[in-house]
Symmetry: C2
Subunit: 485 residues, 2 copies
């Protein structure tokens, strides 16, 4: 019996098989993993130099058996078994949708999304990539949006060291040509390593499958190449529990793809990812129809955080506003809002019952912008987002639902969790007193949360019914109202 | 010949007539003022103690003749003439709509609306009212929203010294009763004096005809009383050049009035005001249809200043956002935004091609809140609005039109005046450089305007075409781009 693997860990089979021809398209390999009456079919992949791998994430403890299938006899009919043991501390399993508008890990621990964005961080070389990981280790973020393909856009025109495909000799007058049927395993091993490292830091990897910022031709491959790419990506990465699938960044400005293409991409992941990792797609202006059955949650670009309740109602799914402008000072409006405004947008989205994402874009003499390359964070928002995360971690299990009333003073939004818990946000409002109409039959503790200066002050205990209580009269305050035992 | 009166000044006739019975409803008096082939009919009014007056605002210099008409012989057929001379310095005449979306005084001087609000300032007694006037003399505002009727609402429950009507003995169990056919001239002389004093300070009086915040019964008078009231108001006040008519504050929450009532009120002013003073109506939530022909401009309550271009397009008239929340710290969301946010809203409205209004609501141990009672201003926005007014006074004659492009960096809005002048606002964006695509064939001077710290810095001269220029990288900045000679 093979060595044990922990629940939601990666069990990997390695085989030696044919190295000639083009194994990426000529050799089929899969394995069925079974336990009691369950069977999970998992695709394998070619990893170069005659080596084949099958990766599997067991979701239940106990003995699992496997049998391979292949069109090559040396890879076909291999059998074996392994024991899945309990998860190690910090391993809560993959994230799924919980309570319709929220997320939880597989073990039931709530997952309160607090994302950031480093689109091209894996294309920057080890020194910078390791600095990014060190920064993330000290940062509050539990999700990272990142591209598979390299990026060509302002502040990020450098070529990566590794490419996902083997290069061909470019035709005269062109700079790049690729064999879209031959992956470069070195690239993919690097990608996997980075995804695993994020996992070790407790960070979900929101893998962006396609994106428009491209000078290499990866955004306009033929359908067969797209399909081969997605299946290879799924075979290599889906056994990592911290993977999410984002069909694209700004899908609506990718001219070479149609809406039918996006539906097809979603369905490809729905069909071939055996674990059902979270799936979404990120817009520039026009939203994808997030109500479609293959979408697990909304991945929104918008500055209108007050619309989160409307999107929840429209799509009936968790709303993650992955992009609402970034803290920074560059020449693009989407990348130069103040830290105060970014933190305000996080809070507005939070009390709307949604989740928000961070990015940082300070102009840099070496073009080291966090949002694209990673590196160091220099802004003032991450500390405030760490503070928000603490507040979120104290929200009752069921999560926040947007509501009205109760804090009759108004403000920039109010959320509740039953009659136990209310969280209101005042933003640019600075009341020196607030009016409340508390649910009958209970007493409440009222706290003033200074979201910018990061402190919590109790303003009333034993509060009940309709009342007016003094409040600090500063901007960027929230009120937390918790039922007393 | 009577003594001369200046153009757009007030010429007043006084007659002695019947004092018995009820002259307010039994005596009809008007006068026709004529010059060359023009004749203007003007209603007179009873001013108590047997005195009748007719007020007229001549709009052309030279000799004017008049003849009265009355159902009482002692007031009928009185004739005379007077000379209208040129206006004194500072008298630019009444304000009208100019260039579709803007305003100008009758002499052609642009009027860039920068309003404030003191709803019940004339109901506070002389000491506070004189303090209000002293404050206004030092403040930047050129329009004031004010109610005729007293106000009953949070922070303003005090009874006024004077009422528009003569009181009757209240029925048992009620506190107030009025004879809606008998005005108290003392109230009206007081109102007039305050309107004149505003005029002397160069401030337009935006007279709110009806409003819902009432414990006396003035918001639910019968139609005949409404009509008598409006005609009396018009007869007494319309000769003052600085009068605007606002049918109501928050018309849509006045349950006793229907939409047909509002149409009727507008048409009453349209019919009986011989000068065609500006007319609008202010909403709480639901807009009146400002496209109706008797509406001169939009008087909006909204925090969505980015929608100003949309309202301009929808109604084809000037947009004045009279209420977009007030600087303050009270327990109501509409009255507790920061000075920074209020100034930001002014700038957003301005670069949307509209005009914005101020109010101040700081909690006070004696409930002296500027927005209701006047008194002193203590906020940080007025100084910044004075600075904005200086910028507005330097806008070319035709006024600002919202537009896109040119400042390709984006931000919170951009306006232009032809190819001569552009004004962009960045608000919570803080670009350290901005990208421009300037119209061909000219050179421009680029200035960075710090709307909060109130300074202007030239960042480029002789700029042309597409370029990127360094910018201060602070929030609350604007860019002004002016064609060089």
């Amino acid at each position: 019996m093979a060595a044990g693997v922990e629940r939601w860990g990666v069990f990997e089979l390695e085989f030696v098989g044919p190295g000639g021809g083009n194994p990426f398209i000529e050799v089929e390999l899969s394995a069925t993993f079974s336990q009691a009456n369950r069977a999970v079919e998992v695709a394998g992949f070619y990893d170069g130099e005659g080596r084949y791998r099958v990766r599997f994430m067991p979701d239940a403890e106990g003995v699992w058996r496997y049998r391979t299938r292949s069109n090559r006899s040396e890879l076909d009919g291999k059998t074996g078994e392994f024991v899945c043991v309990g998860p190690s501390p910090g391993n809560h399993g993959p994230v799924h949708v919980e309570n319709r508008f929220h997320f939880a890990y597989a073990d039931g621990t709530p997952y309160r999304q607090l994302g950031t964005t480093c689109y091209a961080w894996i294309h920057q070389g080890d020194a910078l990539e390791e600095q990014t990981l060190a920064t993330l280790a000290r940062a509050p973020f539990n999700k990272l949006r990142m591209c598979v393909f390299p990026k060509d856009y302002d502040f990020n025109h450098n070529d990566p060291e590794l490419y996902p495909y083997v290069a061909k000799t470019p035709p005269a007058g062109t700079r790049y040509a690729w064999d879209f049927t031959r992956f470069d395993p070195a690239f993919w091993r690097h990608l996997e390593k980075r995804v695993q490292q994020l996992g070790a830091l407790g960070i979900e990897a929101d893998i962006i499958v396609f994106h428009p910022y491209d000078r290499w031709g990866f955004s306009s491959m033929p359908r067969e190449a797209d399909d081969l790419y997605m299946k290879y990506l799924i075979a290599r990465l889906s056994a990592y529990r911290n993977v999410w699938w984002s069909m694209a960044n700004e899908f609506d400005i990718m001219r070479s793809k149609t809406m039918a293409d996006w539906d097809h991409f979603f369905r490809t992941f729905q069909t071939f990812d055996p674990y059902g990792h979270l799936r979404s797609v990120h817009n520039c202006v026009q939203f994808y129809d997030h109500s479609r059955p293959w979408v697990s949650h909304c991945s929104v670009q918008s500055s209108d955080l007050h619309r989160v309740p409307e999107w929840r109602a429209a799509y009936g799914k968790p709303v993650v506003v992955d992009e609402c402008c970034y803290e920074g000072n560059i020449c693009h409006a989407w990348g130069n809002i103040t830290a105060q405004e970014l933190v305000r947008r996080f809070w507005r989205g939070t009390v709307g019952g949604g989740y928000v994402g961070h990015g940082e874009t300070y102009a840099d003499p070496q073009d080291l912008l966090w949002w694209s390359k990673g590196g160091r964070l220099r802004g003032e928002s991450p500390a405030r987002l760490a503070f928000l995360k603490k507040i979120l971690d104290e929200v009752p299990l069921a999560g926040l639902e947007p509501c009205h009333g109760v804090v009759t003073t108004g403000g920039e939004g109010l959320a509740r969790c039953g009659d136990e818990y209310f969280l209101g946000y005042f933003g640019v409002h600075q009341p020196s007193s607030i009016r409340l109409a508390l649910p009958p039959g209970r007493r409440y503790t009222i706290e003033a949360i200074d979201t910018w200066n990061m402190n919590v002050e109790t303003v009333s205990r034993g509060a009940a019914g309709a009342l007016e209580v003094g409040f600090p009269g500063r901007p960027y305050m929230a009120v937390r109202i918790r039922a007393e035992a």
